[in-house]
Symmetry: C2
Subunit: 235 residues, 2 copies
Amino acid sequence: MTQQLETSRRTPLNRARVLEAAVALADEVGLEALSMRRLAEALGVVPMALYKHVANKDELLDGMVDVVIGEIAPVAGAGWKDAVRLRVLSARQALLRHPWARQALETRTNRTPAVLKHTDEVIGMFLAGGFSVDLTHHVMHALGSRMWGFTQELFDAAAGSQEAVMPPEAQAAMLQEMARTYPNILEVAGVARHDDGSVVSYGCDDQFEFEFALDLMLDGFERLHGRHWSSGRGQ
Amino acid sequence: MTQQLETSRRTPLNRARVLEAAVALADEVGLEALSMRRLAEALGVVPMALYKHVANKDELLDGMVDVVIGEIAPVAGAGWKDAVRLRVLSARQALLRHPWARQALETRTNRTPAVLKHTDEVIGMFLAGGFSVDLTHHVMHALGSRMWGFTQELFDAAAGSQEAVMPPEAQAAMLQEMARTYPNILEVAGVARHDDGSVVSYGCDDQFEFEFALDLMLDGFERLHGRHWSSGRGQ
DNA sequence: ACGCTAGGTGTACGCCGTACACTTGTCAAT
DNA sequence: ATTGACAAGTGTACGGCGTACACCTAGCGT
């Protein structure tokens, strides 16, 4: 009976369960708030117990990234363009489910099997489409992080995010100030000002923007491929 | 005399000096190794003294990013394409001088005046070139982090980095293993295998790759602009 | 019956950011 | 010349972090 309790209380914990719990915790509290101690607590275990299953925190993060990458759907039977497009958009879906994964991928320099596999498959799509090795090389560089379904949105620019922390009249004043200092940003950000000075909108469809950029690149690739572009640097 | 010593020993330290020292220290030891304590030590001061000049570490990082952005050269008088190109490549030079800045920029979500100014100027170049507000909006999204002169190189893929840690025969064996598992990566990465199995090359000109991608996008933008592309979503 | 081993524990160390209360050096107003 | 406000720098302390290291213990193959 005591035995029973103990066995039930401690389904012995393995690497997969640790990673799964880590992913869930990061989904919940974000990446900065994810600590070995907190993860251990969530698993009902003492911090050092985790180290029997992952070498250290870095390796934990690698494992978590691998879990997310594992969620990317495979793509079968399509021209290179559709294949890449679908694969990348699927990667995007996976990363959107785990907002912390983007940052983890950015920071991480380790090439885990899952990372290599995805890369290899995307490369394979271009090669199968008849791209030269040379062009494929540059194309992959150009894709960069977009291969993972994200681009950093450093251009989140507009007023849209420090909303609600200040009274509306202060907001309006700040907007006027910004309009004077950074006129172009405000114009392009899609901020609409009503006659009364209030701010509306700032509508920005991230998915649209992502596909816009992705298709721009794919079209560019297609054009270069069609004209048998070469970097003229051997290979 | 004592006074003299003291005044000379403590040129009183101000925000600019703190940021400057922080940038220098990060250049030297990297971003993860940059701590308030270590920075204070480098300045010959007790850690808490820094807090009279920066609010906290986050604000310090923002300030450091601003210093780097301040190094981006202004661009005057050129068509939009050349102007953007020059500005972005100048940003790239600034970021290359401070390798930590890329990560700092990626992580940071705060929009400091320097960040906004750069963004505003790049936008201004497109608008001055006759781009519609609509197209400019999407174009900026597409540029993304490339506006800052970098793209993450998640595709550093090949064997080229864990060199030298293992004996050459182990290296060759690993390469063979990789060639079997990830054939496409190896082919495209520019790894050349000699008959004796030794690995050479892996030549990759980052600057070339960056300009390849940048020009691909600029050409794409130009084409869309030329045909009066519109997203068909108002604005 | 016994010892090996994998999994979990407990303690401890050195680092981190920073809150808070303090001294001290400078200078303007009295 | 005295004072007192203020900015700059100090010292101590707290809670959190990753993780090294020694230890325990349950279950298993022999």
